[in-house]
Amino acid sequence: MKILKIVFLLALLAAVIIFPQVYTDETATTIAVFTLLFAAAVTGWNIFSGYTGYIALGHAVYYGVGAYAMALMAQDWHVPGGYVTFLLVPLAGLVAAIFAVPFGWIALRTRRHTFIVITIATFFIMQLMAYNLRNITNGSAGLSLPLTPPDWSGAFFNLPFYYVALAVLLLALATSWWIRNSKFGLGLLAIRDDEDRALGLGVKTGPFKLIAFVISAFFVGMVGGLHAYFNGSIYPPFAFDAFFDVSIALMGFLGGMGTLAGPIIGASLLEPTQQYFTLYLSDGGLYLIAYGVLFLAVILLLPQGIVPTVRQLWLKWRASRKQDEAEPALVAVGVGSGESRSLPENQERKEGVNS
């Protein structure tokens, strides 16, 4: 079973790697690049919001910080266009991560609803700062990124970006997987289920949450930097884009929060759809309506997200096969797994809960 899974994943990886070599159509590869970027961003977002259950809706901040960091570094250090520029991407992520420390610390002092709103407020602050700190950000005129070398023209242009985006995605996935299987990740999931209970069991909830927050900002920042370079220029509404912000939440949610495959599935389904809308719905208003309706449909029809729903169906199917197995001795004590169906449970209900 496990070998099958590994083989499947390797085959998938191979397909993704070969994809742009086979499908050279520029539109297709552009959509693919965006999908990879979003998948990486959502995976990063999921490391915090999916695992801890704290919905961060201002993560576009770190995306924007990464974008501006990228532009400014390239500008100040006179980095030319080309492959070298990609080396700045992790640095952009690092800058975003550093920003996340104070912002995260302040935001995490609050809980649930206030937290969500603080993250949104942070987003708007940064957008304003991008407009107002003209000395640094060049205000609404924006900044431009190094031009790619002339031989990166036509269909080739997308390829380097594709592979770098893929690398970022794989790194994010690896990190997410590692966290999920570590004690740290277990602590995060416990926080999601019952934060105070986790605290009472010795989990250092404050530092855990902040670390997850910073790690997720790192990845989102990298995506911001990479996207900036891909786009060639940035300006405040591009870098601090409310739409992007909510899109990653929607993708994470569609795919399934707190899962590994969820973010990728969510991005793979929604990003091409989004691009399709952009291309074929030229009337701006129509695009928004279509996207809004899509949002509503996803939320109302698939409240749990794809991966958990599939998993549940799978478990149900397996459970119905196992029902035939016998459960002798422990049932009498009421401790075996048969308890939910045998006598002791009925007795429990009769006694009720003393208060």
Binding site: I55, A121, F124, F253, L288, Y291, L300, P303
Partner: protein, 297 residues
């Protein structure tokens, strides 16, 4: 300079009243339903556009037009709650954010279609808005009629809201639901009906706020982002769910913003708005009048 500051304070108070009207709906909805209506800004803008149509096409006065827009939006609120929010069972808070954002997008998109209003900025017009003499003259400075009227409108509606909340049985049920939803249900309060009505009232208030907003500021479908961000800051500052907090926070924020615009620069005025939030939250995470979300035992 002192004169300017004084003017700024007055304008701040008056505009604060308008924002209080908009924020009150938002905080009320949160208090009763525990959902954050990210679409509130869009609903305000919708209200503004409705007033716009009534005034441009049918030449109905802005204030009189409220007699049409408010009930209309009330019904819309009932529909939205029933269709999109009530079905949410698990994870209501997060899902409601996404849902209300989707609704905001749909509203923005519908208003922005080339066949409706497009993306041009518009403003509401009336005799008391437009003419250059449309202001009270007090001391050495001018107080635009519309600001005063808008403030009065807010005051009247908010007074009405208070009356509703504190002197009627409905209000009693509503406040009970806010304090403890389960307990309220146990004493026979139909919490679902209260939620629906609260949401509808919130939206109706947004309609009124929209008119006041649209008469004092030019707007287009995109304006809801800016608006909702400010409203959110206001309700967090005031304490989410606290009506009193929303009122005070609105006025305080707007006064500070207007004064900063005069004393420092208009550019930084808006940023100050948000920074203030962070500062206050460092000291008091629950806002001015909110409840500290304590440890669950």
């Amino acid at each position: 300079m002192v004169q300017l500051i004084f003017e700024a304070v007055i304008t701040g108070i008056l505009t604060g009243g308008v924002y209080a009207l908009m924020a009150s709906g938002l905080t009320l909805i949160f208090g009763v339903m525990e959902i954050i209506n990210i679409g509130h800004g869009a609903l305000v803008i919708l209200g503004a556009y409705l007033s716009f149509i009534l005034q441009e096409k049918f030449h109905i006065d802005l204030f009189l037009g409220l007699l049409i827009t408010m009930p209309l939006m009330f019904l819309l609120g009932l529909f939205i709650e029933w269709a999109f929010i009530r079905p949410l069972k698990r994870d209501r808070t997060m899902l409601s954010i996404l849902v209300t954002f989707a609704i905001a997008l749909i509203i923005e998109g519908t208003l922005g279609l080339q066949n409706t209003f497009g993306t041009d900025y518009v403003k509401l017009h009336a005799w008391y808005v437009d003419s250059s003499n449309a202001s009270f003259q007090i001391g050495g400075f001018y107080l635009a009629y519309i600001y005063v009227f808008a403030f009065l409108l807010s005051a009247v509606l908010l007074a009405g809201l208070y009356f509703l909340l504190y002197r009627t049985e409905f209000g009693y049920s509503l406040r009970a639901s806010m304090q403890n939803r389960t307990a309220a249900q146990l004493i026979g309060i139909d919490v679902e009906r209260i939620s629906a009505l609260t949401f509808a009232i919130g939206v109706a208030l947004a309609a009124a706020g929209g008119m006041a907003f649209g008469a004092t500021t030019s707007f287009n479908p995109d304006s809801h982002y800016d608006l909702i961000s400010r409203l959110l800051v206001i309700i967090i500052l005031g304490g989410m769910g606290s009506l009193r907090g929303a009122l005070i926070a609105s006025v305080v924020m707007l006064v500070i913003e207007d004064v900063t615009a005069v004393v420092w620069s208009p550019v930084w005025a808006t940023t100050v708005f948000f920074f203030l939030l962070i500062v206050i939250l460092l000291v008091r995470p629950q806002g001015l009048f909110g409840q500290l979300e304590g440890r669950k035992q």
